[in-house]
Structure formats: structure tokens, C-alpha cells
Amino acid sequence: MAVQITTKVNPPNRFEKFWVTMRGNPIGLTGLVMLVSIILIAIFAPVIAPHQYYTSGDVSSSDIYNAPSSTHIFGTDDAGKDVFSEFVTGARVSLIVGFFAAFISVAIGGLTGIVAGFFGGRVENVLMRLTDIMLVIPDLPLMVVIIALTKPSLLNIIFVIGIFGWTTTARIVRSQTLAVKSRKFVLRARAIGAGNFHIIRHHILPLVLPILVVQAVLTVSYAILEESTLSFLGLGDPTAPSWGQMLNFAFSRGAMSTGAWWALVVPGLGIVWVVLGLTLFGQGLEKVLNPRLATHHLMPGRPVLAAKSGTSVQAKKALLEVQNLSIHYVNDEGKPPARAVENVSFTLERGELIGLVGESGCGKTTMMLALLRLLPAAGQIVDGRVFFNGKELTALSEEEMNDKVRWSGISIVFQGAMNALNPVRTVGEQIAEAIIKHIEEFPRDQVQTRVVELLDLVGITADQKDNYPHQYSGGMRQRAMIAMALACNPQVIIADEPTTALDVMIQAQILELLDSLRKKLGLAIIFVTHDLGVVAEICDRVLVMYGGVTAEYADVDTIYNQPSHPYTQELIKAFPDLTKPKKKLSSIPGYPPQLDDLPAGCRFAPRCPSAFARCHIEQPTLHKLGDTHLASCHLVEVPK
């Protein structure tokens, strides 16, 4: 059976993509415009300049430091010459020196970085030591010394700036080369039999080039600044006047005392214009080539919308009750929101363990974050209510959530414990922090003892308390996270894929730990996973989600032995069963739906083996199949 492809239309070519990204990048675009304008001025300087710079025939002493006027729009300088003409001519010198010097720097830096990063060993050592030495030696004084002792010619200046500007580029290119070299596709290229040259050309270079380009832009701005500084200090080439030279003459020949601000401001503004243009363009490029996430976790969240469905007080006598919860990811571009969770309900009793099962992207993590009101900036609860211990969570303020619910009532063990622990603080400190925050009456001198107790509960020895997360193994880190989650004696623990990426034996240990803790401490646990086998071992009830909606919700026995929703049935069939090893493995063809472009009708219909006409038009409601068994499928509709 042919495999579907994800995109539907003709993919845009590279130029179109570049233009679209630049369009949404005002900073980069502004920089580009600034650059292009000054380059054009420099190119057409001889045409634009109203007065030839080199002729001194028609200049007299009365022309010195004249204020801007109609004949001299930028005034005149210390020798009576037109500042505007000097400005446009000077642009050429500054830009030429800048570009050529930068070219030398980028060539040396790029080559050094790639060679050092790729070949490693002794070569890298020598090159990097050289780079470090050059980086530490202050460059301006040395440049001053060298030019002072030799001839200040344009070529000299270009050369000197060039050989000092490569160090930063070399360091950055080297670390990027190292990063790329360790990526799996480079290993795969070697496994195919590719040699060093092939790998550098096809794999390293294309991925280092973007950073090199950004560095090149920044190096040009560095070179232009250096040239203007050197010229200002009197070390410029007197036969090729640049903006820096104009400032040198103005400053040392009394522009300040005469009040001739134009002689000082105009050339300086020229430099600022070019450098700012380059900087903005570089910033813009970096945003395109190396996009950083546009949001972070401390951005203000969106308000919870008033619930249209559900009851205003807790309906059942449960510890946690989620009623008709719907969550959308909103965007600012007017596109339809991604409907990540739609109309999901479930309850959790004291001491119960519920398994939340579904593929990646089905909305399970979103829903868990919503329970603690930790949705990212784009997420919003648009309908439904959550009740915990009788209180309506969805109506609480941030402070109330912090004081009463987060960690002390409901805590969470994140997926991928490596990143959930702060790498520069000890594990013990991070656990203690939770205790101190929530249990005010806890005597300070007892906190450390309590931390040791908690670590012991999860099987970590006391001597590990003051170690850092990177000193723990993967399984230990996960257990440390569990210890931290228990710190304030919560009633509910959300375990979000706690065993993914762990070995089977460690996985079994963690599952056993959670189960025993549940029994010992009377905890209720929500266990989020995509792994059905894990769920069967320890869960009491199971909620199967697909595309943001409830597919099926029942106790564990019913789910495995009488699944009613086709998705549940297919999931169970796809799971390899060791007790029947020769059975052919089945899979579910196709892909999970795009949450911002959902099909009409049942979300599972495109992949459902039992779908019929109605499924593609009408979304099924949740049908009650028994006391505690719900499924959303047209096939299980009980006829009236």
C-alpha cells in the first residue's frame, strides 16, 4: 500500500521561501535597505558629488567651517572643502577597506575553524591555541603599533585589520563544525564510504555556511569600525580619505571650538549608518538561519474563557474531575486556531491510576499542562471546567494556583528528566526548594533530613543528594524527579511519559516504584503514555485520545478485552505480543490529523478500517456503552 505524503501543494522554491521570511523580518529588511542605499551612494559618488574633492583651486580661507547652506548642504570642513562631497567619496574608502579586510578575516577564520573542528587532534590543538593567543592580545594597540612602525597605506590597513579579525569567526566556525561533525548523518555518510573531502563539501559546509554568512556580515562591521578608529587616531592613508580621516581632521583642527558640528556629525553618522545597517541585517539573517523559539515559559498566559458546558459545581464525588475541557492554540496571524483538545472529560478517585494513551500530538500533554494552568503563551482553555477537591481550578488566579494547587495538590513528573532539572543547582537543593515553598511550618533544620528521606523512598542513596543532575544516570534522574514530585505530599501526580527512552529494566523499576508509592501513600496518578503495554500492567482505568478528542474511556479490562472504538482496536493489534510471537505485526497506516486543519466528521475516519459515509461528515458523540464505558464512534451508537 502506498504511503501518503504530508504536504499537498507544490513546495515553494528556495527564493520564494527566502523572500517570505525576509518580509516578516522588519529588522533584517531595514538593515538591507540601509546597506543597499549607502552602497549605491558610494558607487555613484563621483556623479553625486557636486564638488571634486581633490581640487583646491577655488577654495579660500573664508570657506573654512561654513555652516550648511544651499551651496554646501553639509557645510565645509577645516580646509574649506564641501563636506557632502567628501562624505560620498569617503564612503567608498570606508566600504572598500571594510569589505576587503572582512574578506581576509572570514577566509582565514572560516578555513581555520573548519580544519580545526573537522580534523581535531593535534591540528585542532595548535590552531585553537593560536586563536586563543590572538584573541587575548588586545588588537587595537597592536594594530596601532604595527601601522605606526610601517607605512600607513590602504593596502597595509586592509591587511592588518584582516589578520586581526579572524579569531572570533574561527572560534564560532569551529564549534559549529564540531556540532555538525557529531550529528548522525555524518556518521551515516562515513558508513556509506564517503571520504573526508566529500563529507566536508556535502555535509559540513552547507550547515556551517549560514553561520559563516552571519559572521561575515558582523566582521564587515567590525572592519569598518576598526578602519575609522585607526584613521581617527591618525594612522589612515592620507591619500585615500575616509570618514574616520574626516573626523580626525575635524577633531584635531578645532571643529569643536569653532562649533562646526556638521564636520563632526556627518562623517560619524555615515559610519553609524553603515554599521547599524550591517548589524540589523546580520540580526535579521540570524533570525532566519537560526530561528529561536518565539516564546518562553514566563510569558503571561491567556485567560480561561467562561465555560459554556458542564456544571458549575463538581458533579461527582471524585478527587479530580475534568468536565468537557477544550483547549486551543491561538495565533496572531488570523489563521484558525489549532484545536488541541476538544470536549474531554474524565474523573480521578483517590488512589486510582488512570492511563492516558494516544500518539504524539494527540493532545495529552496539552491537557496535563492545562490542569496545572501551565499552558504555553499560545494555549488557551476555551471551554470546560476542572474541579480539584471541590475547588474550581479553572477559576483560580495565578497566586492561588501557586499557593494551593501547584505541587502541594497536584505535581508533575516531566518527560525527559534531563532537561527538567536545572543543571547548575544540586538535586538536593531543587527538592528542598519545593518543601520550603509550600510547607511553611517545616523546621529549616529538618529540610535536609526530609530530602534524604524522599530520595530514599525512590532508591537513591543519601550521598547523591549534593550532586548535580549531570552526575546522575538517566534512570536516577527520573527517580529524582519522582522524589521531587512527592516532596509536598500531593494528592495527584501526573507522570508524563516517564519511561520513554529508558531501558526496559529501568522502565520496569519505575513502574514498580510508582505502583508501590501509590499503594503506600494513597496517591492518585495520571500516567500519560503512548505505550499500551505499560498501561495494561498498572492502570485501573484508561482514557484513549485521538486527535484531541476522547476515543474511548473505560476500565483497563474492558479496553483490552472488549475495545469498542476502532482506534483502540487497531492500537491493540499493532502492539507486538510476546505470548504469540509469530503473529504478523499490523500497523495503522496514515498520520495523525493536523490540529489546525481537522477533517470534517470523525477525526479518525481517514485512517479507520471501518469508516463509512457518515463518518466523514458528522463527528460522533460520546456514547455510553455501560456504566463506566464511553466511546465516540458511530458504530457503537445504541439505537433508540
Binding site: 502506498a2 571520504g195 532508591g459 534512570g475 529494566m505 520496569a508 503512548h530 503495554g533
Partner: protein, 329 residues
């Protein structure tokens, strides 16, 4: 087709230096015993599964078999010829015989290359194909054999436009285009969703029949191999502790580690309350190896003598061996 041993690995070892002692230190150098004496054989179109957890050396073993690392000791022979230490030229020629499929479909593909460039690359590297037309033919065939049909719609795409399962198929296609005789698959499905793992495993099983490729399937998940492995070898701390046919190992495991592994594999049947043997602690680091039997610190049935001597392989049947002192009777 000859039934002789086509790939034979004998006493393979790989030790890495574990940090250099200081200039003035008198301590003996320490080694990471990543692979510490592995031997097995492989026949034409046979599928052998190497099962083990992290730290057992399976990844290092795969690098040794591919010639991406040099072994410290031991031999690898292919069709009777010793290929343990080859010159660069010979090593490159060997690459046409044995190819690899990696674990991470998101990282194994260069994001700046199109699918066509990726699958074509091995042909370019080995200068196969008289002209572009021939290369295109080979690329198309490899892609279709890997289930990417029709090949045309994928050629101009970039990896980020494809799903995890499709990417893994591209990796397989790139491996197939050289027409290898052995495919080394290192955890090819562990990063894919459970519902699509079967696709890839089914594909590998199919390829074994249609292209007569032998497969070395490395995994930590015994459950997924039950389906298509002929033989299974269980690894622990750099060595094979049990090896036999798939039925031997899964239905009559002999080594305590194998028994424990099998007992904890999740089974989607809540009514089946099995006795699970959950080992405590984690695999010890391969630098300071336990004395005697390496498994004894965690072994639920260890005896006093287990810490004194290293267990040899004991033949449980013609096809089945395990290294446990308790079997020496």
C-alpha cells in the same frame, strides 16, 4: 545458495581509554570494556537479533562490524576473508556489502539535501552507474523497494517534509541502493510511534526475502524481534550471555538475565499477572567490571561461587547456548 558461515565474528573486543592518568600518576590506565569478547556467525539471508540494554556494547559492536571503529582484538570474516583490519580502499569496497540503518530518523538525514540527493549519494561516492539515467534507475528501484512508491513524488522533498516512518524508509533506501548483502539495523524503530513500528519491521522482513539480505537487528525491545528474527543473542556488559534460535531464547530462556528481560516486557493483557523479575540498580559501568560472572551483583539467583569464576558457554541444545555457572552441571 551455500549455507556456510557468511559472516563470522570471533572474540571481538574493543576497549576505549577511560581518561588519561596524570603525568605524575602511577595508577594503571583504565579502560572502558565496551565490547569484551563477542563471537557469533551469520548465514545468508539470516536474521539475527542482538538484544541488550544501554551499556551492553551493542552500538560499539555495530560500529566495529561496519568498520567505523577499529577493534582492539578479535576477527571479523566475510565469506572466508578476514576483514578486521582493512586498508582504506578495501574498507570502502567492503561498504558495498554491509550497510547500516540508524536509530534516529530525524538526525540520520542531512536537512539540506533532497531525498534524491540522499539516496543518490552512495552511488556518487562509489562511482556506480555509467550515467545519470542508470543512477536514476537505481535510485528509483531502491526507493520503491523501501516502500516509497511512487518514487517521483519524494525526490524533490526535504527530510523535514516527511514523517518519521518515511524518513526511516529513506535511510533504508539509501542503504539498499548499494545492493548490500548484509543490513545492520541499530534500533531502527525505537524512536517511532508504536503504531508505525510494524511498517518498518515488516519492510525489513520483506527485504530479507525479496533481496536475500541478511539482517543484524540490534534492539533493546525483545518484543519486536519475536516476529521475524531467526536467532537471538542477548548481550550484557560487552558480551553475549545467551544465543539461540528465536524460539529457544523466547520460550526456554536459560540465562537469569534473559529470563528477567523477558519477564518485564509489557504485555497488553491486564488479565495476565505474570511473575516479573525486576533487577535492582543499573548496569554497572564497563570500566570497573565485577569479578567472576559479570552479572552476579544483580543476579537474583547468584550463588557464592559466581563471583569467583567467569562462566563459559554451555550448550543447552544444538542451537542454543548460555553462559551461566548454574548450567554447568
Amino acid at each position: 545458495m551455500s549455507k556456510e558461515h557468511f559472516l563470522e565474528v570471533q572474540g571481538l573486543k574493543k576497549y576505549f581509554e577511560a581518561g588519561r592518568p596524570g603525568l605524575f600518576s602511577r595508577a594503571a590506565p583504565r579502560y572502558v570494556h565496551a565490547v569484551d569478547g563477542v563471537s557469533f556467525t551469520l548465514r545468508h539471508s539470516e536474521v539475527i537479533a542482538l538484544v541488550g540494554e544501554s551499556g551492553c556494547g551493542k552500538t560499539t559492536l555495530s560500529l566495529l562490524l561496519m568498520g567505523l571503529e577499529d577493534s582492539t582484538e578479535g576477527t571479523i570474516s566475510f565469506e572466508g576473508r578476514d576483514i578486521t583490519h582493512l586498508s582504506d580502499k578495501d574498507r570502502k569496497a567492503m561498504r558495498r556489502k554491509i550497510q547500516m540503518v540508524f536509530q534516529d530518523p530525524y538526525e540520520s538525514l542531512n536537512p539540506t539535501q533532497t531525498i534524491e540527493e540522499i539516496v543518490n549519494e552512495p552511488l556518487v561516492v562509489h562511482r556506480i552507474g555509467a550515467d545519470k539515467k542508470e543512477r536514476d534507475e537505481r535510485v528509483k528501484k531502491a526507493m520503491e523497494d523501501a516502500g516509497l512508491k511512487p518514487a517521483e513524488i519524494y525526490l524533490d522533498r526535504y527530510p523535514h517534509e516527511l514523517s518519521g516512518g518515511q524518513r526511516q524508509r529513506v535511510v533504508i533506501a539509501a542503504a539498499l541502493v548499494l545492493e548490500p548483502e548484509i543490513l545492520l539495523a541499530d534500533e531502527p524503530v525505537s524512536m517511532l510511534d508504536v503504531s508505525i513500528r510494524a511498517e518498518i519491521i515488516n519492510l525489513l522482513a520483506e527485504l530479507r526475502i525479496t533481496r536475500q539480505i541478511a539482517v543484524i537487528f540490534i534492539t533493546h525491545d525483545l518484543g519486536s524481534v519475536g516476529f521475524f528474527a531467526d536467532r537471538v543473542a542477548v548481550m550484557y556488559l560487552g558480551r553475549i550471555v545467551e544465543i539461540g534460535t528465536m524460539l529457544d531464547v523466547l520460550e526456554k530462556p536459560q540465562h537469569p538475565y534473559t529470563k528477567a528481560l523477558i519477564s518485564v516486557i509489557p504485555v497488553p493483557n491486564p488479565r495476565l499477572r505474570r511473575e516479573r523479575i525486576i533487577l535492582q540498580g543499573e548496569t554497572p559501568n564497563p570500566i570497573d567490571l565485577p569479578s567472576g560472572c559479570r552479572f552476579h551483583p544483580r543476579c537474583p539467583v547468584a550463588m557464592a561461587f559466581c563471583k569467583d569464576s567467569d562462566p563459559p558457554f554451555v550448550a543447552v541444545s544444538k542451537t542454543h547456548q548460555a553462559a551461566c555457572l548454574l548450567l554447568v552441571k
